[in-house]
């Protein structure tokens, strides 16, 4: 199917049916992934996919529809559904279409060298990753996931206001999870890679790191319920930040789903805390020159030295407060409407090494895994209570592994209780909307329940 002709016909029918303005958002891509199990390719996957999202303004209101079938026969459906959807909309907020920026930042999103990596190289790397995990120690019973994946995507947005933008990117990911067992005690350890250079993917190192974690957790015990000092590892802090990032969204503040309303320009966190949202970050996995509305993305401090500097806005939420969009209007896919989302969202690193943080803490817990973030958190109140794993720290040194505990607290309070920040900033695996990163954080006190 010719995409150009499809777009023209779609916009033509929309205009005939009474849409004042309309926009077509196209997303297409290819992906490859291979799952290795016991030295063989257990699962091998390839895909080519694309879809269009249509939206337009009918009688002053925005209506949406989408299709993965890009065929002429779908055009009447797209227009009819978008019109009906516009007609039932009741919020009085204006959702404008954007005419485009004068110019956009240049971002190197597509890496030719990465696209040329052969399937054989990919598979050999994954096999090495599995083998190095298995060979790490005799306690390693099996490797339950060993995955290598490549993805490339293209986004193009065109509207009747004159916007016409296009961006392509690609990246490589790998993930491994190893299982260690000693008698009845079973533990898992995982590690991953995400990047745009295949040379930076070091399969042996990653495999070994996953196995090492699994083995280190063996013999873990619970501890007495109490209040402890805590060092949150970089990735566990990033996962908390990811879950609670929604409190910084302009539309959540407006709807009363965030307790940060009226807090702009005031102290909401420890004065060493700086949180950035940087859509232009070099080699950032969520870097993109424009958001899903065509607004240019930015590098901005959301919280600087503990002071709340800005919320994240899309066009609609910005108009409501007579502000400009911060370039955070994203669709999670062509199937969704424009929401607010982060780009590369992270806590700026400090100067201390992990060992320095342990030393400063003296005695307490080093939390390396947090589970159940989609369930054990209340993003409205900020409360969380999460299953955790980690290590007991005494005299600034790791003593023994800890399991079957929960850490409970409140995210708003936690921001105030960040006592020190590590220098080991790391980002999570990309997925969904936005990519989140953090260094390790030393937290004054948190409620832990165990025995």
């Amino acid at each position: 199917m010719e995409t150009n002709r499809f777009q023209l016909e779609l916009m033509k029918l929309a205009s005939e049916e009474g849409f004042e303005d309309s926009e077509i958002y196209y997303a297409g891509g290819k992906s490859f992934e291979a799952l290795i199990f016991e030295g063989e390719i257990a699962h091998y996957e390839n895909s080519i996919s694309s879809g269009v999202s249509f939206r337009g303004i009918f009688e002053g209101k925005m209506g949406y529809s989408y299709s993965e079938q890009i065929e002429m026969e779908c055009i009447p459906f797209l227009v009819k559904e978008a019109k009906e959807n516009a007609q039932i909309m009741e919020n009085d907020e204006k959702e404008p279409l954007f005419e485009g920026e004068k110019s956009y930042s240049q971002i190197e999103g597509y890496h030719e060298a990465l696209c040329n990596v052969t399937v054989l190289d990919q598979i050999n790397a994954a096999k090495q990753m599995e083998l190095s995990a298995k060979e790490y120690a005799e306690e390693i019973k099996t490797v339950n996931y060993c995955l290598t994946a490549y993805q490339e995507g293209e986004i193009a947005i065109t509207n009747t206001k004159g916007l016409s933008v296009r961006f392509r990117d690609n990246y490589q990911t790998a993930y491994i999870s190893a299982i260690a067992q000693m008698d009845d005690d079973i533990k898992t350890g995982s590690e991953f890679f995400a990047g745009t250079k295949f040379e930076s993917f070091l399969p042996k190192k990653i495999g070994k790191a996953a196995a090492e974690k699994a083995v280190m957790y063996l013999g873990a015990k619970s501890i007495q319920s109490s209040i402890y000092s805590i060092v949150l590892s970089n990735l566990s802090a990033a996962s908390l930040l990811s879950t609670f990032s929604v409190i910084f969204f302009g539309d959540n503040v407006q709807k009363g789903f965030s307790l940060l309303s009226n807090k702009l320009d005031s102290q909401i966190g420890s004065n060493i805390l700086t949180i950035r949202d940087d859509g232009l970050l070099k080699d950032g996995m969520a870097s993109i020159p424009f958001d899903s509305e065509g607004v240019g993305t930015q590098n901005k401090a959301v919280v600087e030295n503990g002071i709340l500097k800005t919320f994240l806005y899309n066009l609609k939420s910005a108009v409501k407060e007579n502000k400009s969009s911060t370039g955070n209007g994203f669709k999670t896919s062509f199937q969704s409407s424009v929401q607010t989302a982060c780009t590369n969202f992270y806590i700026q690193k400090g100067s201390k090494s992990l060992d320095d943080l342990f030393e400063k803490m003296g005695e307490g817990l080093y939390i390396t895994e947090l589970s159940g973030l989609h369930a054990g958190t209340n993003t409205v109140s900020g409360d969380f209570s999460l299953l955790a794993e980690g290590f007991w720290i005494e005299d600034g040194k790791i003593k023994y592994p800890i399991e079957q505990i929960t850490v409970a607290g409140n995210f708003y309070t936690l921001l105030e209780q960040i006592y020190d920040i590590g220098n080991d900033l790391r980002f999570q695996l990309p997925g969904g909307s936005g990519v989140f990163g953090s260094p390790a954080l030393l937290i004054e006190k948190m409620a832990v329940s165990g025995l």
Binding site: H43, N85, T142, L386, T406, V407
Partner: protein, 460 residues
């Protein structure tokens, strides 16, 4: 949905390099989604999901390719790509399909796409009004509606040709209660493998008032104490505990890799002898039900645990081959973008003998988890976590003050053995389950149960 000739040529092209099985899944799905915030339509979306997924087996390994360009040229190209991942001799070819007669056990009375969006909007508004009118402390509401009409075709090199239609409709209400410093929410999301008649079967206004009550109760709740204690988990969504802590560990996906605590334990005691657990994909109009699974095998009622003894895993075609066991009609996927694998359908603990009153009064001190939230599990270790949305302390055999912020943690294998009372009030509730083959509709369920000891995480 796709011409027979294209299907045949695609399967044959895929078999060219020695695959022992090839399967094509084609899907054309129409979805509509309307959501309201504070009684006003905030989002309305509809669209078409369309595409095809081709899967081939080579021994115990699988290759999967998918696309939404189903032109013959592209399909053959995808088939070639898939076959090139295998190097072997030309295998068997397929040239005859036996059209399966699908016995439709889920009659749809009113197709949801024939109902005007205005009618849906009225229902959502009425739900929101009921929640607001319940109490002045309710400051926000979110109500939503979704329907999905999925048309599928499954054809494979064994000659299967199966076409089916799945229709699902769901309503959701969330009520938020606020005080000066706190916000708490209550939520219900009923749905089924059915059409617009869902709204004849549920009382939207009553459900919305229940959500409001739950939010208000939690607003006044104190922080939950932490430590080990007996926990009584109520019926309905409380079944999420079994789903996470045990159900996932019984899926062949982890059992075949020996990455589950329940691997190799068939016929052994894995739960206390009052526990019988079932996964039933045939429940009439059940949210997780379907006539056939995503490999074309008819859905079944599988008894997983009988009186504490492990009786069955949930097994898909590829893992059946690996484990040398039979398929259980449990192979599912979110869409053509995912290769199917063993998943749950409607999973529940069967009713026992105790009345809810007996269970509470037999508990000196403990936690009563009335409404459960979501959770997750590491199937390799069985370690799980769940949030308690609405909880109360039990003191001297009576339900006492409400508590909030509680999390239940433990290991599936321990908890199953520690279930010491099972109620007689089985109820199911609807959820979405996310795993390697995507997010799929599943029912969880149970009567009220008591676990003699569990770790409760809280801040009190």
């Amino acid at each position: 949905m796709l011409e027979k000739r294209i299907v045949e040529n695609t399967l044959n092209a895929a078999l060219k390099t020695g695959a022992n099985f090839a399967e094509l899944f084609v899907e054309n799905t129409r979805k509509s989604n309307i959501s309201m915030i504070n009684g006003k339509v905030d989002k309305a979306l509809s669209g078409i999901d369309y595409g095809a997924g081709l899967r081939i087996f080579h021994g115990n390994n699988a290759v999967y390719v998918y696309t939404n360009d189903t032109s013959e040229k592209n399909m053959l190209n995808m088939a070639r790509q898939a076959s090139e991942a295998i190097d072997g001799q030309a295998g068997s070819f397929c040239n005859r399909f036996n059209k399966s007669d699908i016995h439709n056990i889920h009659s749809i009375k009113i197709m949801p796409d024939t109902v005007s969006k205005k009618q849906i909007v009225d229902i959502l508004r009425s739900a929101s009004d009921s929640a607001f009118q319940f109490d002045r402390l309710i400051t926000q509401t979110g109500s939503s509606y979704i329907h999905k009409i999925q048309n599928i075709l499954i054809a494979n090199s064994e000659g299967l040709w199966a076409e089916d239609q799945r229709v699902r409709t769901r309503f959701s209400i969330e009520a938020i209660a606020s005080s000066n410093t706190e916000k708490q929410s209550g939520r219900f999301s009923p749905g089924g493998h059915l059409g617009y008649e869902l709204f004849d079967q549920i009382d939207v206004n009553k459900i919305s008032r229940q959500a409001a009550l739950s939010a208000i109760t939690m607003l006044n709740a104190v922080q939950c104490p932490s430590g080990k204690m007996p926990v009584v988990i109520d019926n309905g969504f409380g079944g999420v505990i079994f789903h996470e802590a045990c159900g996932h560990g019984l899926e062949a996906t982890s059992v075949a890799k020996n990455a589950s605590v329940f691997a190799g334990r068939m016929g052994e005691r894995i739960a206390s002898d009052i526990v019988t657990a079932i996964d039933d994909g045939t429940i009439c109009n059940g949210w997780g039900s379907e006539n056939i699974d995503d490999e074309g095998t008819p859905s079944q009622k599988n008894v997983l645990i009988k009186d504490g003894i492990l009786k069955s895993y949930l097994i898909d075609k590829l893992n059946a081959q690996k484990m040398n066991m039979k398929c259980t009609g449990s192979s599912r996927r979110e869409s053509y973008r995912f290769a199917p694998t063993s998943r749950m359908t409607n999973t529940y603990i069967a009713s026992g003998k105790s009345t809810p009153k007996e269970i509470i009064s037999a508990t000196e001190y403990g936690l009563y988890a009335k409404q459960m939230g979501g959770g997750s599990v590491d199937t390799a270790t069985g370690a799980f976590n769940f949030a308690v949305l609405e909880g109360y302390l039990i003191k001297n055999g009576k339900i006492a003050e409400p508590v909030r912020g509680a999390t239940l943690i433990g290991k599936g294998s321990d908890v199953l053995m520690k279930i010491d009372m099972v109620g007689n009030n089985l109820e199911r509730a609807q959820g979405m389950c996310g795993s390697i083959s995507g997010s799929i509709p599943t029912d969880v369920g149970q009567p009220m149960i008591r676990v003699s000891e569990m770790t409760v995480g809280g801040r009190g």
